[in-house]
Structures are given as structure tokens and as C-alpha cells.
Symmetry: C2
Subunit: 386 residues, 2 copies
């Protein structure tokens, strides 16, 4: 976090959003190097730099791909499809997505998404405290029953259930949450305007109507193989913890599990009969010490509550404001002292942002009640220290 | 180990055996205080002291109970029943039973047994590297299948399977080992001449004919409630590691598991469906970090091999001699140097035994090929250092 340079604030949020749309169209999701550059310099700067670099064929290809994108038109079209493009700085942005910038790349995929395309009434910032529930596509009746029951219990505890919309465990997780009257989010490897698998059209449309369908890839994108890998990291990063129910050896669900571990989020696994190949990957994971054994939603809530650093209570009151801080806001808040006030310039140095950004960000944080300005400068409020 | 005083050697082994028979009749098995006294002073001395103390009614009661026992007659009668009373110092004694003297008491039960009554051709020292397989009496078909399969695989790997002869998992463990042509030991809470439960008469007699039926309580003893608690510690102490297959919350099998943990031996548990009450105690144990999840005999062998300190390879060659060392022999061997030889008196000081015991024990260890005598004194052989 301390290496970051100044990042755009609300003032140029729409310019930043447009730049992110362009980069989102021009690069495959999860391109770790791009995300790292955006994390450091902001998308507006990266967009400008990449557009100007035309020395090599590869650079010209990128530049051409970028100039082919009209971001305003993209956003308009998405809007007509019922989609919004949520980026850092939006109220709705979920701060914990930025943890991906600190996690190592897995299979050359990594970094926080440039933004997420969202379809549905559920806001991303309502996912603080959510639980990802994933597992085998070829689930057994035991796995389906267990995932569905656990999702229902999590919904009863007012937790949003995040999954991938696939056959088997994902399906059971979404349906279990919906059956309990709960909220669920479906993270797709294709565009959020599309459905995959086609057999789940009704389910996914239902989730879009009552929860949210989310994707990192632009509208219209096909569910290509490598997009499932980048999609898995979004599932793990959106949720406070990930539960795997049934996974054969080398199951794709174990890739999502790997992201939960890389993010230092609680990784949990539901055991099954040792005679079941559908649980073999689960038992291998637990034997390797890679996750905690859970048997019920109560166990899951205990694991998530025990996670300390990544603890995200179900949002309420002043906590809610903190949950949706942008990266820059979080860094500036962290740099603000609790006791003796200091000038904004001093906070800017500590946070490694330019003074203007620090001032604007402190003003935003004040509007959330997290910092206060005194004659001697700025300091955190009790809410800002919580 | 270092606190121990001189303990009887082969010279007075039969006197010691008689004293242990008397104490075994006069005290309930697992009386931790008695076992501690015997561990320090030897049974011969403890017997004499207790017989002489008649100041209080309680003391007179103990003394009277002891004088009512004719140890030679007891041993004769046991012999006619096909039983032998194996005590420390016997070739057949399993050194790792003495670990119980170092473990804390559980539910006021503890200490190494004074001796074990054994019926059957299998020698106790062949239990180095054995695996205890225990679990619920009201097992499900999943548990029975899994225990039976695992016992068979362990038998295929030439491991003796130790269990308690009860309904359910114990039964499946014994039968699984026998079906694979393997060896199994049944540790009873009643006398080794009796059977419990009666429905398992045929099974237990079969085990006695081909393996061994073992009990800490004297022949003829009834299977009283508290004897199951002391019996459980013998199961855990005889085996190199303990596996629990199915245990409801508060199952008796978890008491055996507690002993494996108290002995710092590998404690392993086989998960099951989280929907099964018969596996709830297993999952609780695993969640508490009390044991390792295992799914197969291969996992079990890996856990036992990884145990380091308590590693007991399946006995073969020179290892075999070490496996059946008495406590005193092990202490003296440990005190013997690897490089420069030292006099027996020096080894006696290090081992905290009297010089005569050190000399006799060194002579025994030499006959096993574990130490050698040089003009300058004694040192270990390569076999003794292994």
C-alpha cells in the first residue's frame, strides 16, 4: 500500500471510469502487469501512456485496440442492458477487492479488477461479510444437499452467498440462498449481460432481478477457459471467506480456494465420505492444512469472525462508510493521526499521495465522519479509528 | 525418565512379577498413584511397604486385600486358562507402554499398566508400529465399510490392528484385518479369559487363536464401567497411532483419542458426511485441531512415519531388539556413549540406576548387539545408535 502514487479522486472519477472501460476492453481480465500499473499510476495515466506508445508492433496493437473503444458508447450500451461499471472511488466499490493487488498472481492471473460490471439491485459494498460457496460441477446428492442447506443457513444469518452460477455446488448454493429468502451474487466468466451455462438462464436472471450478476469481463464477452481462472479470483475477493463443498482432485473449485488462501481470507472446506471421489480434493486440501474443516453455517461464521484482520461485520452504521472506502481513502485514513492533529501535507507524505489528493480525500473522509479538521490540522474521529 | 530409581532386572524378574500380580488384584487398573509409585520404586518394594502399613482402616484394607492374593496360584491358574502375565523386563514387553508413566492422568486414570494379561500367540513386542482403530458402537454402514477397508489395508501393510472388541467400528476393524489375513489384537475391559460383548464370543476367540486378547485387569474380572476408561489408555499406548472412524459427540472413542494425544502419538480421524451424527465427534475433533484427517491406510502410514520421536518401524532385524527393551534397558542404552567408551559406573550415574543394575543391563544390551565392552569401558554399537 505504501508504494502507491496519487490516484484519482472523485473529481476525475468519470475520466478514470472511461479509462478503465478502455483498458478493460483492450486487455484480458486478470492481466497482472496491467493491474499493477493501474494500481500505481491510475487508469487515466496508464491509458494515456499506452495510447502514445507505438514503437513496436505489440505496442501498436494495444494502442489500436484501445482507440477502437468508445468508452461513453460502451457505458451507454451497458446502461441500456441494465449494467453498471463499478470502479474504485464509487460509493458501491468494495474496498476488500483491492486486497488482490497485494496477493501473488496464480497461474499468471492477478491484480484487482479495473472495475466490475454489475447487473442487479444488490450493491457491491453489501458484500462485506459475504461468503463464497463453491464446489464441484459434478456434485453428488450429498454435496448438493449440504451446499443448499449451508447457503440457506448463511442467508438466515443475513450473509450474501457468492458463487459462480455453474452446475452442481454453485447451483445449489444460489438456490439454497434464494429458497431461504436470502441474497446471492453470481460471478460469471462471460459478460454480465450473458448467461452461462445456458441451462441456468432462469436461475441467473432470477439472481440478476433480486441480487446481482457480476463480471469482470466486458458485456458480450464469451465464457472462455482462462476467464474462469480470473473469475475465480473475483469470487474469492468479493467474499469475506470461501467455503468449498465437494471438489475432486484438481477441481476448478480448488483454484478459487487458492485465491482465498492467497488473500489470507478464511478458507473452509466441508468434508464428505472418504469413499467419495467428489470429496477427495476437499480431504487433500484439509490434510495439507490449507483450510479449516466446517460442518455448518455456524462453523463458517465462527471462522470468518475469527479472521481478525479481514473481519467484516455485516455492514451497519459507521462501519458501512469504511467498508466502501477507496484504496486512496483507506491509505489517507490510515495516515491520519489519532491524537495530535497534523497538516494535510504531512498526511500526504505519510500516505505517499500528492498534497492536493490528500486534501480532497480528507474532505471526503470528513463527510463520512471518519476524520475531523482542527485549527492544528487533521486527525481521526473515534469512528475513523474503529 | 531421568527421575527413575533402580528397577528390577532379570535377576528378580519373577519376584517382581509376583508383586505385580498382587498389586494388580488389590487395586483397580489405572490407579495413577499406585502406578507412579511402582514406576519409581518397583512393585516388589511397593508391595512390601503397603503390606506393612496398617495404621489406618484404609491401609489395613489394602494390606488385607493383598495378603488374600497368592500370586503363584494366580499365575498357575492363568497359565491353565492360556494366559500369560507380561511385565516390564519380559522380552515380550512393549517399551512404548511406559510412555503412559509420562502422560497426564485423564479422568483420574493413568500410569503404565503393572502388566498385561495376554491370551494368544501374538507377542506384545510385535505391536511396535501397530495401529489402533476405534470408533462408535452404533456405527453406520459407511463407518463399518470404511473401518473394515482401512483395517484390511493396514493388514496388507503388515500392521497389527488394535481395537476393543466392541460392536460397530471395533468389530469392523478386527474383522477387516482378519479378512485380509492380517493380525489383530483385542484389548478388553474384562479379564482376558472372558469375552465382552457375549455376542462377539466367536470373534474374540478367533482373535485369541490367531492374534492376542489383552487385558490389564486380572482374569475373571467383569467389564465394569470405569474399566473401559483404563482399557482405552492401553489401546492407545499399545499402538503407534490411533485412528477414530465415526464417533458421535461425547463418544467413548474420543476418550481413546484423548489418550493418543496425551501420549503424543499420532491421532487420526476419518471424516464422514457432515449430515451424519455418527461423524459429529470426528469433525469436532478435527476442527479443534486435535488430530489429523486421514482417508486411507496410506494416509495413516504417512502420519505414523512422520511422528519422529514415536516412530516405530514394523519390527525387523536389529530394530526388533530395541523395540522390546525394558524401561531400564532403554535408559541405560541412552546413557551409553557413542564414541569414547566409559566405565559402567559412569553410565549408572547418567542413567540414575545403581551400578549393579547398570552392569547387568549392559550385559543384556551386549547380548542384543546394542553395546560393546572395550578395555576402557562401554559404548554403543552402530545398531545401538540406530
Amino acid at each position: 500500500m505504501s508504494e502507491q502514487l496519487a490516484r484519482p479522486t472523485a473529481v476525475d472519477l468519470e475520466e478514470e471510469r472511461r479509462a478503465r472501460v478502455v483498458l478493460n476492453r483492450a486487455f484480458e481480465a486478470g492481466t497482472a502487469a496491467l493491474h499493477a500499473a493501474v494500481e500505481v499510476a491510475g487508469a487515466t495515466v496508464v491509458r494515456e501512456q499506452l495510447a502514445a506508445q507505438r514503437s513496436t508492433a505489440a505496442q501498436r496493437d494495444v494502442s489500436d485496440r484501445m482507440s477502437a473503444v468508445d468508452p461513453d458508447r460502451e457505458l451507454d450500451r451497458a446502461h441500456r442492458l441494465g449494467l453498471r461499471f463499478v470502479v474504485p472511488g464509487d460509493d458501491e466499490w468494495l474496498g476488500q477487492l483491492s486486497d488482490l493487488d497485494l496477493a501473488p498472481a496464480l497461474k499468471r492471473v492477478g491484480g484487482a479488477p479495473l472495475g466490475l460490471w454489475v447487473r442487479g439491485p444488490l450493491r457491491l459494498d453489501e458484500l462485506a461479510g459475504s461468503v463464497a460457496l463453491v464446489g464441484s460441477r459434478s456434485a453428488t446428492s450429498y454435496g448438493v444437499h449440504t451446499a443448499s442447506r449451508m447457503a440457506g443457513e448463511l442467508a438466515d444469518a443475513d450473509r450474501v452467498v457468492v458463487s459462480g452460477g455453474a452446475f452442481g455446488i454453485d447451483d445449489a448454493a444460489h438456490r439454497g440462498a434464494l429458497a431461504a429468502g436470502g441474497r446471492t451474487v453470481c460471478v460469471l466468466a462471460c459478460g454480465a449481460d450473458r448467461v452461462y451455462p445456458e441451462a441456468h438462464r432462469e436461475l441467473i436472471e432470477h439472481v440478476a432481478a433480486h441480487g446481482a450478476v457480476v463480471s469482470e469481463v466486458p458485456p458480450g464477452s464469451a465464457p472462455m477457459r482462462m476467464r474462469f481462472l480470473s473469475r475465480n479470483r473475483v469470487i474469492a475477493a468479493l467474499a469475506a471467506g470461501t467455503v468449498v463443498v465437494e471438489a475432486a482432485l484438481r477441481s476448478g473449485a480448488l483454484n478459487t480456494a487458492g485465491w482465498a488462501a492467497a488473500l489470507h481470507r478464511p478458507l473452509m472446506a466441508v468434508p464428505g465420505p472418504v469413499t467419495s471421489a467428489a470429496s477427495a480434493g476437499i480431504h487433500q486440501l484439509l490434510r495439507a492444512g490449507g483450510g479449516s474443516l466446517v460442518t455448518s453455517a455456524a462453523d463458517v461464521l465462527e471462522e470468518i469472525a475469527g479472521a481478525g484482520e479481514h473481519l467484516q461485520e455485516a455492514p451497519r452504521g459507521p462501519e458501512k462508510a469504511r467498508d466502501r472506502l477507496t484504496h486512496t481513502q483507506a491509505v489517507v485514513l490510515e495516515a491520519a493521526p489519532a491524537a495530535n492533529p497534523v497538516p494535510a501535507a504531512s498526511i500526504a507524505r505519510t500516505a505517499r499521495v500528492v498534497p492536493r489528493v490528500a486534501e480532497e480525500t480528507l474532505a471526503q473522509l470528513r463527510s463520512y465522519g471518519l476524520v475531523e479538521e482542527t485549527p492544528d490540522g487533521w486527525r481521526t474521529t473515534p469512528a475513523g479509528r474503529r
